[in-house]
């Protein structure tokens, strides 16, 4: 019979790596009950908390890498346990101390980020190639706003339209903005959640220095992940600047009357709340307000929306890891969207974009269901 003997050193490693909050856990199991994984497979969050408390974590288990950091559990936890921090600490212990196995896909992305500053492994000097024919100036000291599109829209051919749409809109309303030089790197939010703290520190420091050197005061971002780390994590490292998500920016431009949407989009649109915009940062209304101001557009809601919104499956570094068919949240979402008769799934996050795009393609729904960033819809409606 296997007898468990608590292994204090393991607990200490986790606590040191930022898992301090786990002490509060009283094992009610609400986290497991709320975790979206348990709709498709078993993932006992509570059990991991208890294992961590006792130093009995199985560092070799794939469960170490399962959490998508969607914050559904943290939001409702009766003891306020920062479960994501605990998960991150366990991963950090594995990644930095080699006491477990980092999944291959993640290892490659981590290597790319550390090497060339983006998870796709693309050349740094091509970071701003998405601009092509658009008139976008380089950010210089005195420029009002820095637009920071995220690595995915910068490089991924399908997602570049997101960045290009934002630039088109900004040009149209004559915003004083620019983009930063190709020295910029991945924001590091996801790789940090995936346990690669050192990589994160170096990315963040590099970006902070670049921004400071260039005189950046305000950044508009397309990715909620950039938003989150810029706003909540960079300040700890000395990076202090105003951060605005593009949906906030567009919503206020529309409300101030500076951005007029006159072209009709006669479509049924369903909006999926990105976890890092919604639960992590409480931005629920602006994206909806934008969509509702597009003439002809009919906005419908998922059964679980806003605070209860289902993750696309791409947070916490999962965007780089494989999720078997049948367990993909974005597949479930596409089904739900279809059941509600939506023509378009509207998004506000590049990671969501990738996952939903893949789901629509792999489910053979590309004919009937489009995946679009809100910025793309706005650009179409001008």
């Amino acid at each position: 019979m296997e007898v468990l003997s608590p292994y204090k050193e393991a607990t200490d490693i986790i606590l040191e790596a930022g898992g301090e909050p786990l002490k509060l856990c009283y094992q009610c199991g609400l986290c497991t009950g709320i975790c979206p994984w348990n709709v498709v497979r078993s993932f006992l969050v509570r059990r991991i908390m208890h294992e961590a408390q006792l130093g009995a974590v199985d560092f070799g288990s794939e469960d170490v890498w399962t959490c998508v950091t969607c914050r559904a559990c943290v939001q409702r936890c009766p003891r306020g346990v920062e479960i994501i921090d605990v998960m991150r600490a366990i991963r950090r212990a594995v990644a930095s101390m080699g006491i477990g196995i980092v999944p291959d896909a993640l290892r490659i992305s981590a290597k790319n980020i550390a090497g060339v500053g983006n998870p796709l492994g693309e050349a740094p000097e091509k970071r701003n190639d998405w601009v092509k024919d658009l008139k976008v100036k380089d950010f210089a000291s005195g420029t009002g706003i820095l637009y920071f599109p995220c690595c995915v829209p910068s490089y991924d051919p399908d997602v570049k339209t997101v960045a290009r749409s934002v630039a088109t809109i900004f040009n149209k309303v004559k915003i004083d903005y620019g983009i930063i030089s190709t020295e910029a790197k991945c924001c590091g939010e996801a790789i940090r959640k995936a346990g690669h703290e050192d990589t994160y520190q170096s990315l963040a420091q590099s970006n902070i220095n670049l921004f400071a050197r260039s005189g950046v005061k305000t950044v508009v971002v397309s990715s909620p992940h950039c938003y989150h780390t810029f706003k909540k994590e960079y300040p700890e490292l000395g990076g202090k600047f105003e951060v605005i998500h593009v949906t906030q920016c567009l919503a206020s431009l529309i409300e101030e009357g500076k951005l007029k949407l006159s072209r009709r989009i006669d479509k049924k649109v369903i909006y999926s709340d990105p976890c890092y915009l919604g639960r992590h940062n409480d931005i629920y209304d602006e994206p909806r307000r934008i969509l509702q101001s597009i003439p002809g557009l009919r906005l419908v809601e998922f059964p679980d929306a806003r605070e209860n919104g289902l993750c696309c499956g791409g947070g916490g570094g999962r965007i780089w890891m494989d999720t078997p068919k049948g367990e993909r949240f974005s597949d479930m979402r596409v089904e739900q969207a279809a059941a509600r008769g939506a023509d378009i799934i509207a998004l506000a996050c590049p990671y969501c974009f990738l996952n939903y795009r893949d789901s629509v393609l792999s489910m053979g729904k590309a004919e009937t269901m489009q995946v679009k960033d809100i910025a793309e819809l706005v650009a179409e409606a001008i």
Binding site: Y26, Q27, C28, G29, L30, T32, G33, I34, N38, S42, L44, R46, R47, R76, C77, P78, R79, G80, P303, E307, N308
Partner: protein, 1128 residues
Amino acid sequence: MKEIRIGVYICHCGLNIAGTVNVEEVAKYAETLPNVVVARHYRYMCSDPGQDLIKSDIKKLSINRVVVASCSPRMHELTFRKAVEDGGLNPYLYEHANIREHCSWVHDDRKLATNKAKDLIRAAVRRVYHHEPLVIKEAPLNPNVLVVGGGIAGMQAALDIANGQNKVYLVEREPSIGGHMIQLDRTFPTLDCSECILTPKMSDVGHHPFIELLSLSEVEEVSGSIGNFKVKVRRKARYVNESKCVGCGICEEKCPRRTDSEFEMGLAKRGMAYIPFAQAIPHIATIDKREERPCKAACRAACPIHMNVLGYVSLIKEGRFKEAYEVIRRTNPLPAICGRVCYAPCQQACNRGQVDESIAIRELKRFAADYERNASRIKARPVEITKEEKVAIVGSGPAGLACAYELIRQGYPVTIFEAAPEPGGLLRYGIPEYRLPRKVLSSDISYMKDMGVEIKTNTTVRNLDEIFRQGYKAIFLGNGAGSSQKMGIPGEDSHGVLYVLDFLRQVNSGVEVRLGPKVAIIGGGNAAADAARVARRLGVDEVTVVYRRTRAEMPAIPSEVEQMEQEGVKIQFLSVPVEVLSRGNRVTGIKCARVEMGEPDARGRRRIRLVQGSEFTIDADNVIMAIGQSVDKSMLPEGLVFTDLGTLDVDPVTLQTNVDGVFAGGDVVSGPSDVILAIAEGKKAARSIDAYLREEELSTGEGGQVEKLSEEEIAKLKEQFGSRKRVEHSKPDLAKRVRDFEEVEQAYSIEEAQQEAERCLASAIEGCFQCGECKEACEAGAINYDQTDQIVELEVGVIIVATGYDQFDPSVIPQYCYKKYDNVLTGLEFERITCAAGPTEGKILLNDGRVPQSVAIVHCVGSRDQNYHEYCSRVCCMYGLKYAHLTKEIAKADVYEFYIDMRCFGEGYEEFYKRLSEEGVNFIRGKVAKITDEALTDEEKGKLIVISEDTLLGKMVRVPVDMVILCSALEARSDAENVARIFTINRRADGFFLERHVKLDPVATPTDGVFIAGCCEGPRDIPDTVAQAEATAAKALSLISKGTVTLEAAVSTVDEAICHGCGRCEEVCTFHAPKVAARNGTMVSTINETLCKGCGGCAVVCPTGAISIKHFTQDEILAQVAALTEGS
């Protein structure tokens, strides 16, 4: 001055102090300080030997000042003052230095801690040097006690104190005492019925000679201090005279408005006049009047039978059509008929008419009646005949029917004698079918038959004695005025001249009447309009109505005139026929003359004058005379006396004729009139007959004055309600409608009726709208809508606060879907459901009436959860077990308890847990994550699925159940902050009241003389609550038994030489101690030492420094501060 000799005593407090502070070194140091005669250290200064050290030094070393350095003065300052006093000194020649909480407990470094102790002692020594002996005074304690809150805690405390023959004022905010406990069905773990064990206590409280119960009251202000509190209590207007009300409940029965019953947790309704529950104490009604009615309810006053228009209109607005119909039925025997043919004086008087357009009251009445008839819900129950005296009614027109309706409802056997083959009188034979379809008429009449009224048709009554001989004790004559008046002009006898009643009777009886292509109708009343429209329907192309006055004077209902014109009828106003023209005795037309309107006559009707030479001719094949009807004396029994006008002569008050026991009403008395006026007469006669048969005096009159809105009121209402026109409904196509006798006026649809009812100003307000129904029904005359709140002032010595808790509202937890799914309940709702006196009479039923087969009980809802309340609510595990037991026992359902930890700590509690395990309850350890109705399997369809991790199995579970009970937290009252302010109580972070010491002083508060008991201090079960209540009673009784309170000696004093009398001290003092008054010609402040608490507020604001506080003088404080800044 006497030499100052100071003794210093340093306490080790075991190792609490000595572990960190070098007490020996400190003692040595203290001996070096000026005026210190002796310095000692001792293991426990608070012990008897420790205190003896002080006493002996006072005697032997003649020390006259004492400093003890030990724990907090909150703990032992009084102990050592007492020791000093026992030693023979004034207790105020003492100073306390805190070297435990301020020193040893908060520092680790022994050297630094020791130095700090030296500093604190030096400062204390320096200060004690300046201390003066103070005089300690006592004041009498008022033995009356105020208990706030009439739940189990407040009642228990009140009874304990009152049983000792002390006066208790018990103030309860709700209409009845009982609190939450009386809402509970059974109590754990013994399963005693809560009502059974609590009702006797409630009754004791209600009748106790030493308890004055102030229900529906709230404490607004408390001043004074222990022994002498002054309390202002707002006695909220009950709108019921407490001394007159007998608690019969008729007011609630009559009230047309309903709202959620608070006592039943919204699972049942109550009236706006109500007694919250059967065992309520005091057992008297309360009227839930929240605001003044914006209109004057002129509708009700204008109605000849004073129908409760507000009542049924507001019920229609709320979609409660059946109840609306019932309200109409209470006063009106013919709702569907009046909903069509009434001339609706209510509508003409409606105050909304002054704002924009009156409410379509008649249409709404018709809607309610039709809706219920169409839904086949109109079914009269046979009335129980309780009286022996038979009553005969002659004539089945509206007067006779109304009289019969009223009498049978009072239990009289009633028979109607009708000469015609069918009952209804003019309703049947006068009013055409397109205005009053026969099925509507029959429905209202058969309702009366169903009630038990016997109708004998084809029976003409000629002989009154014959009727009396048949055993009838009273007779009502409602024969009507059925003969048409003649005009008395030349040619009236010509063939083709018809009289309106004959004409209508024939048409309405189905006799074929042939008319020529042109018809002239003489007259301007409803009969004329009816004849004209009937003529159109019989195929007459050209119908002309000749009326001698203008449109404004036309007695016909304006809408009838309007419709008549729409249907192509022409009207010749200001015209009188002077001759019927004929050829060969066959009518060819009428010759008319124009008239002018002259001055009004005595009755206000303007006289008319013929205009010379204005004659003109109207071609007509038939002339229908509709100028008036009169009583057909030949149809009446013999022996009656008539007036000059040819109507029956009756007593105007009793409606009795010249024959004893024979009454009359309706057209036979008044001459031709309206349906509703006839009904009013019939009802009046019924009351009169009842009084006659019971040999009682007839009480006269009801109703009120029709009041109009003032211009200001109209302007205000316009602003408040805006303009909103009456909801119009469609009429059938004009061309079609003149071809047949289909009903013209269409009924409102449900939406239209509700929209129209929404326009009613009275219905716009919440709560009671003072329709007067209860007031009329209340035999005790207890109801008074004009009551106002009263402020009463109480003087008490002790206050006990027992204000209880609120139940946490779980609708803020989205994943539990409370209020979203019908069968998700809170604990208190479930209590009401299982209660035999509750809304389901103790049956556990789902919303659709089924018995649940499986029930989930969810623990820790809002408790032990930092998103809501971090604390454990302490009772939920146990009541959850109780629910499990009751569910198993009553519904025989499977039970799943979702718990995190079972907390069953009281007497018999663990045993109860064991018992429930034996009963087969399924325990699942896990906090419920979600409740959903989205089924994944067939088994889950139609169920609520409870999703949780079973943390002991490490597996997700989905449990399909029929009902979910949420064990909702107990939380602090929403107004706890205000209550705390009024009584000067502190609150914990969780909102509950804070006791003075959690272990050693659990019912006291920082304010002397104010105690707390029960759940206002935190969640607790009934045994703990009662124990605490008894503890507060003991505290109060101990104070009462002593009879005096020791006053604070360290009070403020005023140096009158410097005082300017500015009064700032007066403004700032919450105890009202300073008073500025003239003294030797100048204004100076004087301190009432009985009231002064020595807080020092006045000294701080005093601009001249005239005020100082004894024991805290400038000399003392500055010496202490100076010593601290020096360093050792």
